[in-house]
Symmetry: C2
Subunit: 351 residues, 2 copies
DNA sequence: CTAAAAAATGTGTTCGAGCACTTTTAAAAA
DNA sequence: TTTTTAAAAGTGCTCGAACACATTTTTTAG
């Protein structure tokens, strides 16, 4: 049985007091060179790991974390974040953690700035945010960092070396995966890559997925081809039907965000039977169309998992001094009607 | 800021001493009815959660866990378990956890029984095992339970109410998923459901996956059909080629275990170009054939994740008294050449 | 009504790390 | 050599829960 060494053990081994060991460990100085060398040698020899439980017992501070994300009342995609936060709260309910959630309007820069300011006023120990607006996010992140507030981001990445941790998916790969799936189920033919929503220039994810899709076509021997198009959600029906009429060779549609159900609805309505559809995220509406085979595959971005990991990374950093990677790239889950339930079922079959 | 109540706080609120509060919390008796009611009311009112850190500091016992699994030197499928154990050890290196791994020969009952006895002699606090042999496993589980050793299992389930926790996948669903994938990429035609190895009667997973596949065919309007066949690994080449010659209408092969690469090898060798292949697990050899498109999909059983979750469930139960579900059914991951890397990459890009 | 027994309640120590504080030792100045 | 000062080392308290043990209160028996 491997013995667990304590500071006291080390002190005895080195023939000094635990105070000296403590000073060596924390490099507080006021230690003779001999003592420093002796203690350091022993620390290395036994591979000393401090008892994090005892350490944390002493530092019994309430850690506060702010979560800054798009309002999930306005876009169902963010709804799963609510669950994610809830499950983290539950998981760490026995610890002194305080999580405040602030919601901004994902299309409104001013709302984002306003909520960011609220975060600043709350002076939390850490912030986990979705940096929807690149430029403004950078400003906020720098401001937070200057106040020694740890900042993590998730969902989409922005380059900034002050960011503690990023959780998300590789979106170029994500696009490639969609292409591969079309390749497998179509074999050949044209696929329309769609963006649905307002202001596609802000939606960096769209460009990356589009790029990934095309990359696959170029780099493999596939007989697939693609055409990229953006639509507003308001006029989708007229514009899309018109577009499809102009491109009768389109055999598949790749919707680059969670609005996939809007296209599925039209496929059903206009009886476009031979159109294969692949999109994103397990929204209720998407799931319905997945189950009735209007959608062939959904790619699961798992916002719940993302926010969960982002939060646990922060908490375990504060509570246990655990090392955290700069980036967590999550697996890209392929979902069809059959493995869907294995992702959505609750894990809580206690007895 | 939500205040964290301690036993001392509760004692003051109830007008008793912390000893009395302690007796109420742990139902140690020797408390007057009045005190019991008062303290219980306050505990409920403030939703008292004990500080697990402090609790664990006191109970500074080294918890020992035995892992009893098939020898990963003999079957690559179990290799990822080694990594899983390693990562748990790393994750909890600052805590007093001792994990002993015992490997048995997965085809040899006597080896299983022998190693089980070794586990009994080690008198651990808990055991996490793969119950390869149903009857013998039951005996061992009962024996362990009678000595107050907590037993969890993973990979395959066996019915026994003494089991603390099971981690695995729903194998019937797993078979359905394979059927769905063939449905999407083939549209119609016959699929051969294969078992490769010795003694398929012991391999309950095979029957469940087979059942799931057939269930899908029956319950949906698919034009797929299936034929089930078992092979020994030794004579696979002769027998399989012979079998395929007898069934020229077979357009897909579903290998129900990680031996998928053996079929892929034959497909390559005999240039059976139009045969679609779906199998299990991310072994090196399978990955090679997935990347060169001989295998269309792999279903990821994620033994590493399974053993990881099984172990953390046990540890967090012991260390933090965390509630654990009776069953953890893990998501069934669909892997193709494109999303593969998102599952296999290491999460350790520290900076 | 008192003594003994039983029940109820209170007190104080432990766990390991961290840090403030005190004491000891060594070096420098008088 | 003695005094002063700084450096080095040691001591002891804290965190919250758990539990052994001590003390007080209540009940029961004589």
């Amino acid at each position: 049985m491997r013995k667990k060494y304590t500071i006291k053990d080390i002190a005895e081994l080195a023939g000094v007091s635990k105070g000296t060991v403590d000073r060596v460990i924390h490099k507080r100085g006021k230690v003779s060179e001999k003592a420093f060398v002796d203690v350091t040698r022993i620390l290395e020899e036994i591979d000393y790991k401090p008892n994090l439980i005892a350490r944390n017992l002493k530092n019994n501070k309430v850690y506060s974390i702010c979560v800054l994300i798009p309002d999930y009342h306005l876009d169902d995609y963010w709804l799963s974040c609510k669950e994610g936060i809830q499950s983290v709260k539950q998981e760490f309910s026995a610890f002194d953690i305080e999580i405040n959630t602030l919601l901004y309007h994902s299309k409104d820069v001013n709302s984002f700035l306003q909520k960011s300011n609220e975060v600043l006023n709350l002076k939390p120990d850490a912030v986990l945010m979705v940096p929807s607006f690149q430029k403004e996010s950078e400003t906020i992140i720098n401001l937070l960092a200057s106040q020694d507030i740890v900042v993590s981001i998730f969902n989409n990445n922005i380059p900034n070396n002050k960011i503690f941790n990023f959780v998300g998916q590789d979106l170029i790969k994500s696009g490639r995966i969609a292409a591969k799936l079309f390749d497998l189920i179509l074999g050949n033919g044209k696929v329309a890559i769609l963006y649905i929503g307002a202001n596609f220039k802000n939606a960096t994810y769209f460009h990356e997925k589009d790029q990934g899709f095309k990359e696959y076509i170029q780099q493999t021997e596939t007989a697939l081809s693609s055409v990229t198009k953006t639509f507003s959600s308001e006029n989708l029906e007229i514009e899309l039907i018109d577009f499809l009429n102009q491109h009768p060779d389109i055999k598949g549609i790749f919707v680059t965000n969670s609005k996939t159900y809007m296209v599925a609805e039209l496929i059903k309505k206009h009886k476009l039977k031979d159109l294969k559809l692949i999109g994103y995220d397990l929204l209720e509406e998407n799931i319905t169309y997945l189950k009735n085979n209007t959608i062939q595959f959904l790619i699961h971005q798992n916002a719940k998992h993302q926010i969960h990991l982002g939060l646990t990374n922060l908490i375990e950093h504060f509570m246990f001094g655990k090392k955290t990677p700069k980036r967590n790239l999550l697996p890209i889950n392929i979902i069809n009607s059959e493995n869907l339930s294995s992702y959505t079922q609750k894990e809580t079959i206690y007895e």
